[in-house]
């Protein structure tokens, strides 16, 4: 098998001592970031990205992707012990995780959550190992029209699959595209939408937007809610871990279903958060103990955690193979690739073998290391949350400001960060999704380029987007995703009477 050899080569790249060290640092930082309010996966990676500009790309991506795994693990800790989801994708984990902690079974809940996360991630990495090279090879023959249709599909999925009202998703996404358009037009080199301001010549940087929207916005929301951390004791020890592990294989069906849901939702950019809710909902309906969900069922922890981690990990598949990220954090990593001088897209698998397979190998190792780190150091991480908000909040604000400044060594970016933060607070409160906005800022220029090049080829006819079989299929899938709520409602109306008989 071709990719097996490549993978082994990847392990050889990762297993140098300094890359392993980056992995450990990344996981630990990631868990801390996941535990703290206002510092999430996307935001944490965005803040640290400028520090990696001088590192070799492989080490940099290992460090940053491990922060992401760490953040995925960390979200579960606060959900279970404090009933505060550190990350949006761990909201569903609070439903049964926190009741378990209240019943004195915090250790079991944490073990189940971490192990499920690990299983979900492992499943997704295997999917990536097997599928990503094939997808990339297939995508090598893509022209601009095909590329645009993939972007179209990705953005339509947000509108159709998201739980927010479609008009709000469209508005938020298009604001992202508009922000991406500010500055120099990448095709003609002309300046546009700067309105004479020299500060806007370079356009809006997505890193500053991410730090503001997710970091400052989150702190404002936390302030509004008036945080009071009342945590449960961790109570995790080797006996509890072992006892829990013995019971887990019983739930393999729940686990497998959650893996599949997670991978599906991660690859189509719906993301980890809806995946965790969907998995929880289906597990509740399918389980014999469904009516006990919400009172501390271990299955109610396994289902969302497995799906969230599978989605979070598999979001990297389209990012690596197509250059289309499946989640905000994947979008930030993609932005990192461009900064390190790598051209994201299918060619990555041909031209940057060390990088791609090093990253995939680090996903395997990173999750093993992550599981070991979180299982052994939970009490320490929980202690961080007991540091009063009065100290933690200003420190997070300062870290965000430094992160925004270091992107371009520009104080104006710090001002923009605050503006994005206040905007993020209002958007979040009014139920506008932020993920499409961020993805649009990152992908805006590329999507526009693909669109304009396709139009050039066809001399201005939009029919180019339906010119070949492949493009037609992807565009139609996009339209299907766009109108999915209407389509599924229609299907239900037609199919229900058929099954009722």
């Amino acid at each position: 098998m071709d990719s097996f050899g490549d993978l082994m080569h990847g392990f050889a790249v990762v297993l140098s001592w300094h890359n392993f060290l980056y992995m450990l640092i990344g996981i630990t930082l990631g868990v801390i970031i996941g535990v703290l309010p206002g510092l999430g996966g996307a935001n944490g990676v965005a803040i640290l990205l400028p520090l990696t500009f001088s590192m070799p790309p492989t080490s940099a991506i290992i460090l940053l992707s491990c922060i992401y795994w760490g953040a995925l693990f960390g979200g579960a800790i606060t959900s279970i012990l404090f009933n505060i989801p550190g990350e949006p994708w761990s909201v569903a984990t609070t439903f049964d995780g926190h009741p378990m902690a209240q019943n004195g079974k915090a250790g079991e809940a944490l073990t189940a959550a971490f192990t499920s996360s690990f299983v979900g991630a492992l499943f997704a990495v295997i999917v990536i190992t097997l599928a990503a090279p094939l997808v990339a090879r297939f995508a090598l023959q893509f022209g601009p029209a095909e590329m645009f249709s993939v972007f179209f599909l990705a953005f339509c999925s947000f509108v159709g699959m998201g739980k927010e009202p479609p008009a709000k998703t469209v508005a938020s996404m298009m604001v992202g595209f508009a922000l991406a358009a500010v500055g120099t037009d990448t095709v003609t080199g002309q300046l546009r939408l700067t309105f004479g301001s020299t500060q806007l010549l370079g356009g809006f940087d997505f890193l500053v937007a991410v730090i503001g929207l997710f970091g400052i916005g989150e702190i404002l929301l936390t302030m509004e809610e008036g945080l009071s951390f009342k945590g449960k004791a961790t109570g995790i020890n080797p006996t509890v871990v072992w006892q829990t592990w013995k019971t887990l294989p019983r739930y393999w069906v729940t686990s497998l279903r959650a893996c599949v849901i997670g991978c599906w939702m991660g690859i189509t950019p719906a993301g980890a958060t809806p995946a965790s809710f969907m998995s929880y909902g289906i597990a509740k309906r399918a389980s014999r103990n469904g009516d006990k969900f919400g009172t501390g069922e271990i299955e109610g922890v396994i289902a969302p955690e497995t799906a969230a981690h599978a989605a979070g990990t598999s979001a990297l598949l389209p990012m690596l193979a197509l250059g289309v990220p499946g989640s905000p954090t994947a979008a930030v990593l993609l932005g990192g690739l461009m900064i390190w001088g790598l051209q994201p897209g299918p060619l990555l698998f041909v031209e940057q073998k060390d990088f791609v397979w090093g990253l995939i190998a680090s996903m395997y190792l990173g999750n093993v290391v992550g599981l070991a780190v979180v299982l052994t150091m939970v009490p320490m991480f929980a202690a961080i949350l007991r540091v009063p908000f009065g100290i933690i909040a200003p420190i997070i604000l300062v870290i965000c400001a430094i992160g925004a400044y270091t992107v371009h060594n520009n104080s104006f970016d710090v001002i923009m960060m605050l503006v994005f933060g206040i905007g993020g607070y209002f958007l979040k409160k009014c139920n506008y999704p932020l993920a499409p906005l961020v993805l649009a800022i990152v992908l805006g220029d590329k999507a526009e380029e693909a669109f304009r090049q396709s139009l050039l080829l066809s001399q201005g006819s939009v029919a180019v987007l339906w010119s070949s079989k492949l493009v037609t299929i992807i565009m139609s899938l996009g339209l299907l995703a766009l109108f999915w709520p209407a389509v599924s409602a229609g299907l239900n109306r037609v199919l229900k009477p058929l099954f009722a008989r």
């Binding site: 400028p50 520090l51 001088s54 009202p165 008009a167 709000k168 469209v170 508005a171 298009m174 604001v175 595209f177 508009a178 358009a181 037009d185 095709v187 003609t188 002309q190 300046l191 546009r192 939408l193 309105f195 400052i216 702190i219 404002l220 302030m223 509004e224 809610e225 008036g226 945080l227 009071s228 009063p388 908000f389 009065g390 100290i391 909040a393 200003p394 420190i395 604000l397 300062v398 400001a401 430094i402 400044y405 270091t406 060594n409 104080s411 710090v414 001002i415 960060m417 605050l418 206040i422 209002f426 409160k429 009014c430 506008y432 526009e448 669109f451 304009r452 139009l455 050039l456 201005g460």
Partner: protein, 167 residues
């Protein structure tokens, strides 16, 4: 966190008003985008679609989507609260110091500004004693200096104090 919100049942701005305001604000962004695109040309030139072509339609979609959002927002029940005034006051307690901080960074440098922000927060929101406040307010900037300037070799903005110290 130290100042609890006002008595339960306190009032606040209507959710409907804020949501309609947000929709209008986004619509204005869309209109600005369309206007800016028009000035660079939205048609077809020798090099293909002009620079304003793509953003113009992006702006148009923002305006249409916002119009829908605005109409839907006007249907929100008037009784629904956006947040209580006490909560808004909490948010303001972060936004105002942060705005001052952001404005001060280019003048006094990020280290002094950060120290003051952290100390100010601890003193007035966290109600810590002076000793603890000063200790953390001084220690954090030094820690940041060591991490960024010494370890990662990333220069951060400095002000008169750093000049005085010869850093």
């Amino acid at each position: 966190m130290s100042n609890p919100p006002d008595a339960p049942g306190s009032t606040g701005p209507r959710h409907r008003t804020i949501e309609m305001g947000v929709a209008l604000f986004i619509m204005a962004l869309g209109a600005i985008t369309m206007f800016g695109s028009l000035s660079v040309g939205i048609g077809w030139a020798a090099e293909g679609p002009q620079s304003g072509f793509f953003p113009f339609y992006v702006g148009l979609m923002i305006v249409i989507a916002s119009a829908i959002n605005f109409l839907r927002a006007s249907g929100i029940a008037r009784g629904r609260q956006f947040a209580e005034w006490g909560q808004i006051a909490q948010v303001r307690k972060v936004v105002i110091p942060m705005a001052i901080y952001v404005a001060a960074v280019p003048w006094i440098g990020i280290y002094v500004a950060s120290g003051l922000l952290i100390a100010g927060f601890m003193r007035w929101l966290g109600r810590y004693g002076w000793l603890m406040t000063v200790a953390i307010g001084v220690a954090m900037p030094i820690l940041i200096y060591v991490t960024f300037e010494t370890w990662f070799l990333v220069p951060l903005p400095k002000g008169p104090l750093e000049d005085l110290l010869g850093l």
